[in-house]
Each structure stands twice: as C-alpha cells, then as structure tokens.
Amino acid sequence: MEESTVQSMEIAIRGVSKTFQDGTTALQPIDLQVAAGEVLVLLGPSGCGKSTLLRMIAGLEQPTAGRILIGDRDVTQLPPEKRGIGFVFQQYALFPTMTVEENIMFGMKLRKIGKQEQKAKLEELLALMNLTELRKRLPIQLSGGQQQRVAIARVLATDPMILLMDEPLTALDAKLKEHLRLELAQLFRKLHITTVYVTHDQTEAMAIADRIVVMNKGVIEQSGTPKEIYLKPKSSFVAQFVGQVNRLRAKVKTAERGNVLDLGFYQLPYKGESRAVADIDVFLRPEDVYLTQEAGFSARVQDVIFLGDHYRVIAESGGQKLVIDVGNDTLIHEGDQVQLEIREDKIIYA
C-alpha cells in the first residue's frame, strides 16, 4: 500500500467561516493546520460546525470567507472532483446499481492508470478490506459494516492526497463500531495519509486521533492530543463533552498555607490559577474518586448501576451529587454510608 500512496499533504484552513443562506452561522472564522500524515479528529455535538468544516475542505460546501489550501494548492474555488481528496460518508453512499468491484473501480477508472495496474490495485484493496468474497455483490446484499468497508476501499482506490471522513461509524451498531474503530486506527497508522475525521463520539475520537479538535457552536474550543483533551480540558464545555465528569460547586478561600478549595463537604488545597476568594466550578472524573477506610469524607449512596466491568455509583454529600466508578467486586448498596477520597491532583479547573 505505502509505495502506491501519493505523498500525503498538509491542509491549511485560513480564516474560513460559513454563514448559510438563511442567516445561520455554522462556523466562525477558523484557522487550523493539519500536518502531513496526521489523523485529526473534529469532535463536537451536532450543529457545532464540524461537518460543515469537513464539507468545505472537500468542496461540497463553499466557505463564506477564508481560504483552504491542500499542500501548496489553494483549492477554495475548485469543485470536489478537482481536489484530489477522498471522502467517506456516514450513509456509505455506495452506488446501488454497481457491485462491490464496480464501486471500488469507479474512481480508478477516472484516473489515467493502466488496466493492469487497476486490476492489481483492486485485488489489493479487496484483500486489505476483507472483501474478496463479496466482490460480485450489490450494496443491498451487504451488511452495514461491509458497506462501510467497501466505501473505504473505494476511496483508497483513488490514492487521495487527503482523506476526509464524516461520522463513518455512526450508522453501525455498537459492537461493530468498536471493531471497525480498531481496524480504522490500524489502517490510518499503516497508510500515513493526512486524515480529517468528524465524529460526535469521544471514545471513537480517542481511539483514532493523533490530535483532537473539540468544536462547539462554530468555534474551536480546544486542540490537543487525546490525553491533553481528557486530562487537561481548557473549558467546562470540553470537560463535560469529553468523558464522564462531575461538576462541583466550590469556594476558593484564603488560608494560612495558601488557598483552599472548599467543596462544602470537603476541603482540599487549591491548585488552580491564583485568584482571590471566589465561587467556582471544578470538574472531577468518576475514576478519580475512590472508596477508602479512613480520612476523606463521607457520602450516602443514592444509586448503584451495574455496568459489567464496574459499578457506576451515584453518591451524595453536602448537597452535591458525585458519580464514581468502583470495581465490580465491591460490596456496595443503595443507602450505604461510605468514605470517599479524591485524587486532588486530578481536579480539573476549567
């Protein structure tokens, strides 16, 4: 695969914005650079502008302002067919009248490649995507997962300079999604092709991304590696959108040994940016609260949900609700009084 892949390209988005005809602003002016070979995930809730941005890179949507460059080439005015891109759609968009083979060959036929080479490439892709057995089938005879694999093979057949994927796994059921997610992550690593991947699923984003860009209401909230996004969210939106999180009301108080974070039911050393006495919100992941014998604070168990590999426990202390995860071998019941401790260096001040 590597030797036939075209040199992957970087993507530059310069001051791109989009306002639709009806006046709604989908995207505020955005600057974004995608490095050659990087897998960038645009993550955000529906309506945040991530798909619009992706469609503008593809040329399926025209930006209201700004420029888009693929490599050194300004493609802002080019139609999709002249951009040298590959686009995977959420609904697969396989051509219903063509077989698996014909679908994969579609883009190849439009390029000046020899018949021999085309055939070789087809075989290679059928093998790569595990489709050899299904080559003569029509799309309607395939399952959702198979259809999406055909869609990916069809895109790779054209040796795109960049790969754009619009929620490619959203239409699949949970188990299959997990399986294909792993396959995709491996594929990206193998291909080293610049990829922009849109999803609203943070687990998917984590598994696939070199870098995640979290978007909300048409602006970029944060850009960073999956670890940075999860462990050091820069805004309350990012903290709450990526992963499970507890939002706690707190007071910052001055004390003898520096500032203290007062949660009402518990006090901890304050480690946020220096500030005067104030009411703030802090965030805490369920896995950063744990059961303990001594110290800590006491809480009352309101609900216990069995999730297989762990229990999700909803506890209450000092009028604040805390969601915590504990091992599935823990003896814990509704109404129990428990002692909890917080990993204080994991508190998120966003």
Binding site: L60, G86, F87, Q91, P96, F106, G107, I140
Partner: protein, 263 residues
C-alpha cells in the same frame, strides 16, 4: 358470513369491470360485423372494415406514431434534465416553479391549443405546433416522475460522493444518477407516449389536413362514416395502447430501485 362478504365483493368487482369493459368489448365485436344493427352478426362477419381503415387512415396511424415518438424524445431529454436540475436546486422557489410547470395537466387542452394558435400562428401549417402542444401537455408527466423518484432516495449524497471520487457533472449524471432512475424515465416515457397517442382535445384545434392524428381520424370515422369502420379503428387503437399499459404496469412494479436497493 365471511364467504358471503367475499362473494359480495367479487360480484361488485365483476359488475364494475363489466360496466367499464363492455362498451370496449362491444366495439371490438362490432368491428367484425358486416352490418351492426340490432342483431350484430345478422349480415355476417368480415375483416373488410380493417382493410378500409388502413386504406383511409393508414397515414394517420403513421403520423400519430411519429408525433408520439418525437414527443417522447423531446420530453425524455427535457423532463429528465428539468427533474435533475430541480432536485439539485436548493431554493424555496423550486416549489413555486414546480407547480407552474405542472400547470398543463390542469389546464384544458382547448385552452392550450387556442393559446398556441394565437402565439405561434406560423408554426401551425407544418404540424410543429402540434409537437409543441404535445410536449407541453405531457412534460409534467416525465418531469414529475423523474423528480419524484429522485426525491425518494438520497441521490444528492450519491452525486456528492461521485464528485469526491473525481467525477465531473456529466459523468456523474450518466454513470451514477441515470442508471438508478432509468426505470422512472422509462415509465415516464410510456406515459408520455400513451397520452400523446390518445390526445384529442388539443389536436382537434391544431390539426391540418396533412396532420390528422389517430384520435381525430377516429372522430371523423364515427361522425361521418360507418360505425363498423369506427369500431375497427378503435380496435386498432386499443391494440396499440394495451401493450403499452401492460409495459407501464410492469415498469412501475419493478422500478430500478426496488431491484437494486437504496443508498
């Protein structure tokens, strides 16, 4: 009780069918009578009326077929193009224009014919005006069928997908969209053909001695000649229309999409 109910339904269906079909059956039967009086075959059976039809009206059949073919040809191109264009066009004005273009279905043929004569008098003699008229009144059938089929599935995504794979607009239409709507275009074409074949209203105002169509000839045969001749003429007409009806039915049952599945 249930069987009685069923029987009643059958009787009703039979009665309605008989009501609709018997005039046609009588006409067909009458076309073989030497003299169709109170007793249909009292004077014997003959095929001579058919010979007379070909002798007197043979040219009208040919002209009607040519006219219908030309109408189909023009509307297949126009209707498909318009349908595709409307499907891709994102504007609220689409619906207004769509209704306007479908207006010929609601406007009486006479009105269209008179309007055409007043607007393009020069085109009347050659019969071109007749073609224009037929194209106008049958256009909505093709246009609506194509547009309707396009709207049932997400062709926009298929079109976008083909574009991202490097296909230009023409290639996309002929290789992606067209194969999927071929069935709709065909059934639209058959409807256009049948409507053009049977159009009387407008023809009656637009025809010249050189451009007599089948329904006009039929009218003439019934009004000025023998009823048996008219019946033979009608039978020939039915013989052309019924296979087309059947074809249309088949096409609607197995449109390209029910066979190949959706997006």
């Amino acid at each position: 009780m249930q069987t009685a109910g069923k029987a009643l339904v059958y009787v009703l269906v039979f009665l309605i069918s008989a009501l609709i079909l018997s005039p046609l059956l009588f006409t067909v039967a009458g076309s073989f009578a030497v003299y169709w009086g109170a007793d249909m075959y009292s004077a014997g059976v003959t095929l001579s009326w058919y010979a007379k039809v070909f002798e007197k009206f043979g040219h009208t059949i040919g002209f009607t077929l040519v006219l219908a073919f030309c109408t189909v040809l023009v509307n297949t191109v126009l209707g498909t193009m318009a349908g595709y264009w409307f499907y891709r066009w994102k504007s609220r004005w689409v619906f207004v224009l769509e209704e306007l273009l479908s207006l010929p279905i609601a406007v009486p043929g006479i009105a269209i014919a008179l309007a055409l004569i007043q607007t393009y008098p020069a085109m009347r003699a050659s019969g071109a005006l007749m073609l224009v008229g037929h194209v106008i009144i049958t256009f909505p059938l093709m246009f609506r069928t194509v547009l309707g089929t396009l709207r049932t599935k997400d062709f926009r995504t298929l079109d976008e997908c083909a574009a991202t794979l490097g296909a230009g607009p023409m290639y996309r239409f002929f290789h992606v969209i067209f194969p999927s709507i071929r069935g709709a275009i065909l059934s639209g074409a058959v409807m256009v053909f049948m409507l053009s074949l049977g159009e009387f209203n407008m023809n009656f105002f637009l025809y010249t001695p050189l451009t007599v169509t089948l329904p006009i000839g039929l009218y003439e045969a019934y009004s000025t000649l023998r009823i048996e001749l008219g019946s033979a003429y009608t039978t020939l007409f039915l013989a052309m229309a019924i296979p087309l009806m059947y074809l249309l039915h088949r096409l609607n049952q197995s449109s390209a999409f029910s066979r190949n599945g959706g997006v």
